[in-house]
């Protein structure tokens, strides 16, 4: 029953993991929509910037990015708190993947919808907000669900830049007790449980989006 004594420390770590994951999902979503919309609707310069961001963060490894921001940037005089670095890098990383989801969904909205909007004299912003985004958002949700789980899993890497998340606590407890099987089994179960909860949350958001509640109805009347 000694594994019961790990629970307080592990659950404190789990709280930090949850906090980092949820922040990264929220900030990552902003980055994803900004870059995704810029790729589709932005002018040449804007979409090029978005493309560079996406390729840079999708093309290199998350751990390399974390270490780069943690060890390398301070050498040129830019440094943040470890937690801020962790959240920032994780957000930018998943945001890059998310932007591809946003871009794909926006581009999958049929041409007729654009033509109809044009016929109704909708401006570009109006078309985006009232026509394409509401339809595209429904398409995006399943992929966003997977990305949210991915974010939770990837958040374990922040333990390597000395943030005391679930993985970090597991590592310290194991170094103290040498009970590897107990600690890591408990940690894996913890992550699995958090994944299931996150999946449930994403399902609820998906259902909410499907009902069309995320967008104002004014334009339809």
């Amino acid at each position: 029953m000694e594994w019961l004594s790990y629970l307080p420390a592990l659950s404190r770590g789990a709280l930090i993991t949850a906090g980092i994951t949820l922040s990264a999902i929220a900030i990552g979503a902003v980055a994803a929509f900004a870059a995704g919309i810029a790729r589709v609707e932005g002018g040449r310069a804007l979409s090029l910037v978005a493309l560079c961001y996406t390729e840079l963060f999708r093309g290199t490894s998350l751990l390399v990015q974390l270490f780069w921001f943690y060890y390398a940037l301070p050498l040129v005089g830019i440094s943040f708190e470890p937690v801020a670095t962790g959240i920032l890098v994780l957000s930018l990383h998943v945001g890059a993947y998310g932007s591809e989801i946003v871009r794909g969904a926006l581009q999958s909205v049929s041409v007729q919808q654009h033509e109809a909007a044009r016929a109704l004299n909708f401006g570009r912003a109006q078309t985006l907000i009232h026509i394409t985004l509401p339809q595209a958002l429904v398409e995006m949700m399943p992929a966003f669900g997977n990305l949210a789980i991915e974010t939770l899993k990837l958040s374990s890497l922040v333990s390597l830049i000395s943030i005391a998340d679930l993985t970090f606590r597991a590592q310290s407890i194991r170094n103290l007790t040498l009970d590897s099987a107990g600690v890591y089994s408990l940690t894996l179960v913890g992550y699995f449980a958090m994944s299931l909860v996150l999946m449930l949350i994403m399902r609820l958001i998906e259902r909410w989006v499907r009902r069309g509640a995320a967008f104002p109805r004014a334009a339809h009347s």
Binding site: G59, T60, S61, L63, S159, A181, Y184, Y191
Partner: protein, 230 residues
Amino acid sequence: MMYGFEWDTTTPLTYASSILPIILIGLTVTLQAAAAGFAIALVLGLVFALLRRSRYAAVSWTTAVIVEFLRDTPLLVQLFFLYYVLPDYGITLPAFLTGAIALGLQYSAYTSEVYRGGIEAVPRGQWEAATALNLSRLQTYRDIVVPQIVPRILPAMGNYLVAMIKETPVLSVVTVLEMMGLANMIGERTFEYLVPLTLVGLIFLLLTLICSAGLHRLQKALPKAGIPLR
């Protein structure tokens, strides 16, 4: 100095060129780990996909839970688990092999879904036709199913291979000296992380760009109708 190569930190450029040979040695380890991990993922994923289709509910459900568990927990923790727990039960593997197994386990969850999607995309009518023609289960898979799913799953598998290459730096935490591990060690000794880490980032970027271009060509070259096995 590392692997017989001395570094020269006078300017960033000389520094980069002096440590490039060391990083390239790391690159071979990165690629080997990804190749070994992917081979495991391809085989294990197929096993999971077939077990998932078992007639016995107990087997298919157990497989589903295992796959879900592997997919929803972090690679890093799975890696720690294998690295620290296996020796407690008398199984001592080299770090490289432990790393490859961890990569393979995690990605077998993904590949099993790809296999499953591929198998399920074969229309029901074809399975029925195979039964009507009195083909055995083996013949059905060999002559009907596999030739159709191979071109369908190759692009998805390729994407996972690229993703796996990008996750190999995680293995550095259990002392596998791949690219990032080496860059980190160089940084620790010279107190100058910017150049080695940037170099590794650039190599990863180059690697993924080349791989995606290759995948794009592969996707175009694949026959839509299927690849005959005989």
